[in-house]
């Protein structure tokens, strides 16, 4: 995909060299299903709830959960906003049908209206606030339905979004498990296609749909196909930015991508606790989530 005015793949960047590695889709799904199955066992809950947006990430996450714990134990919710296009609802329904999971539609519009956001002269800032509110309202609904159904909230974020900070803190980031959190967007797409996710979903342009016409790639100013390559070499292969640029990616693009990683570090950590005592949460009180036996 090409972002206006910017070549997604610079002519001197050999795609085969600068790309996250292909993964074995079936084995990856097996491994992640095993993980989700154990997460649910450890939690003593009885299933997962997931927000199905009609996009590829939530479709694949739901698909893996259905494989892990059975379709009957996965409840999907479509949470449309006033800005959500009609085809998203159609796509979400096709995913639910494909997986054999139940789908309930819960419009978020009344909640957004009830929040009556104070106006802002900066239309872009207002749009962003409204988008974040929307993501957090969806989170609140999902956690309520999770409590109602004795379930965990299944996160749908991928590694590209998480490291770029293209997420809403305590909104779509709030979940009990991120099964796709170590898969770049391009890997998610490849696995989703191999997993039989309907093409009407897997071929859609990535969008948070927080406002009309929004796409991830327009927002960030670069394509996932380019960002994933830069991120893979920076994070996984420990290349320096200079070394990435030397492979042919224009240095300003490398910098813009890595700047997002740097400035969104706060989203990847739990809130800080200033240490006062001998043993402090977040510093030196280390217990696994599945804490069996006596304390």
């Amino acid at each position: 995909m090409t972002v206006a005015g910017r070549p997604a793949t610079p002519p001197t960047a050999p795609a085969a060299v600068l790309a996250p590695p292909p993964l074995d889709p079936d084995f990856t799904v097996r491994a992640l299903a095993l993980a989700l199955s154990q997460v649910l066992d450890d939690s003593k809950r009885s299933g997962f709830v997931v927000g199905l947006s009609g996009g590829i990430d939530s479709a694949l996450a739901a698909s893996i959960a259905a494989r892990a714990v059975g379709p009957h134990a996965v409840r999907a919710f479509f949470l449309p906003a006033p800005t959500t296009p009609a085809e998203s609802g159609v796509a979400a329904a096709s995913v639910a049908d494909h997986l054999g999971i139940g789908l309930v539609t819960l419009p978020v519009a009344p909640l957004v209206a009830a929040a009556s956001l104070p106006p802002d002269n900066d239309e872009r800032a207002l749009r962003s606030r409204r988008g974040n509110l929307l993501a957090r309202l969806r989170m609140a609904l999902l956690y309520d339905r999770a409590a109602a159904h004795d379930a965990l909230v299944l996160g749908t974020g991928n590694k590209s979004e998480i490291v770029l900070g293209y997420t809403t803190l305590w909104g779509d980031m709030a979940a009990d498990c991120w099964p796709l959190g170590d898969l770049y967007k391009s890997q998610v797409s490849a696995i989703a296609r191999a997993s039989g996710i309907p093409a009407a979903v897997s071929d859609r342009a990535p969008s948070a749909e927080l406002w009309e016409g929004q796409t991830d790639e327009d927002d960030m100013g670069f394509s996932y196909s380019l960002a994933d390559r830069v991120l893979y070499y920076f994070i996984d292969e420990r290349y320096h930015p200079d070394e990435i640029a030397a492979t042919g990616v224009p240095r300003p693009l490398v910098d813009r991508i890595l700047e997002r990683v740097r400035t969104h570090a706060f989203k990847r950590r739990l809130p800080q606790v200033p240490k006062l005592s001998a043993r402090t949460v977040g510093h030196d009180f280390h217990h696994p989530r599945a804490w069996r036996g006596p304390a």
């Binding site: 084995f27 097996r30 095993l34 993980a35 199955s37 280390h286 696994p288 989530r289 804490w291 069996r292």
Partner: protein
């Protein structure tokens, strides 16, 4: 080896922090193995406790005074066992340990020397390192226990085999990385390393590697047994629990050592001198730097 033995490698998924449940699972498996005529049951690293213990390590640590210690020893009343556990030393420090048990007692306990504390690993925060690579006499021959990260230090296998080990019982709790071609790239690397040790040192290498999921780690399995010529004598899946029963043939060891006697003439004094220089911080003598 004084005789051939049947070893059963157990690729299981212990319950994190639940030593009593894990002990019951060990008991059932050892009883079944004894009924099958197996000589040694080989469990994984920290097989009695699970891996991602964090501060739970203190609560699951055992020593000979612990009420469960007699039950652990009792696993070996009819059959020998290799078990992984958290050991509380007499001085109170905690160790990631493996023990070889025979006839109702611990014949040998090895404390993990190399505790990975980098990247995703944090063992040095919760355990104290061991400081010895030893071998021990089992009823059927000489063996050593090697735990996970130690297998990425060739010195561990070297130290064990130079002291006469004929079987290296390798154990691991390793997260899978790189889902490629129906398995983990990381665990194919494990197998390459173990096959190399088996071939280089002409030893049997049974490898017990756990599966299951804890705290974000999908453990990579791929348990295996490597023969003294480096060949794969048996292998398990990358995700599913399994048991592998393999005959560790005394004759295969003899033949491999006749074919490859390289280590019979090992010059320990040359290595020791090199290591002494390394310990003193002396770099290699490369002559004057080019200008």
């Amino acid at each position: 080896m004084r005789r051939s033995i049947h070893v059963r490698v157990v690729q299981h998924r212990p319950l994190l922090g639940d030593i009593e449940a894990n002990l019951a699972d060990h008991r059932a498996r050892t009883l079944a193995a004894a009924a099958d005529g197996v000589d040694v049951v080989h469990f994984t690293e920290l097989s009695l406790t699970g891996y991602a213990l964090g501060d739970l390590a203190d609560q699951v640590a055992i020593d000979p005074a612990h009420p469960l210690w007699p039950e652990v020893c009792a696993l070996s009343e009819e059959i020998d066992v290799v078990v992984g556990f958290v050991e509380r030393g007499q001085d109170g420090w905690l160790h990631n340990a493996a023990g070889y048990f025979h006839a109702g007692r611990a014949v040998h306990v090895h404390r993990k020397v190399y505790l990975p504390t980098y990247g995703a690993f944090d063992e040095g925060r919760f355990f104290s390192p061991g400081n010895r690579f030893d071998v021990f006499e089992a009823p059927w021959g000489r063996a050593a226990l090697v735990i996970c990260e130690e297998l990425w230090h060739p010195s561990a296998a070297h130290a064990a085999t130079m002291q006469g080990a004929e079987v290296l019982f390798a154990t691991a709790n390793a997260p899978g990385r790189g889902p490629l071609d129906g398995g983990w790239a990381s665990h194919r690397a494990w197998r390459e390393i173990l096959a190399t040790y088996a071939r280089l040192y002409a030893v049997w290498v049974p490898f017990a590697s756990r599966v299951g999921y804890e705290e974000g780690f999908v453990f990579g399995g791929a348990s295996a047994v490597f023969a003294p010529d480096g060949s794969l004598a048996g292998g398990a899946d990358f995700l599913e629990p399994a048991e592998l029963t393999v005959l560790l043939d005394q004759a295969a060891l003899r033949r491999a050592r006749v074919r490859n006697p390289a280590h019979a003439i090992e010059r320990h004094e040359v290595l020791i001198a090199a290591l002494e220089r390394a310990r003193a911080g002396a770099g290699p003598d490369l002559g004057p730097l080019p200008r």
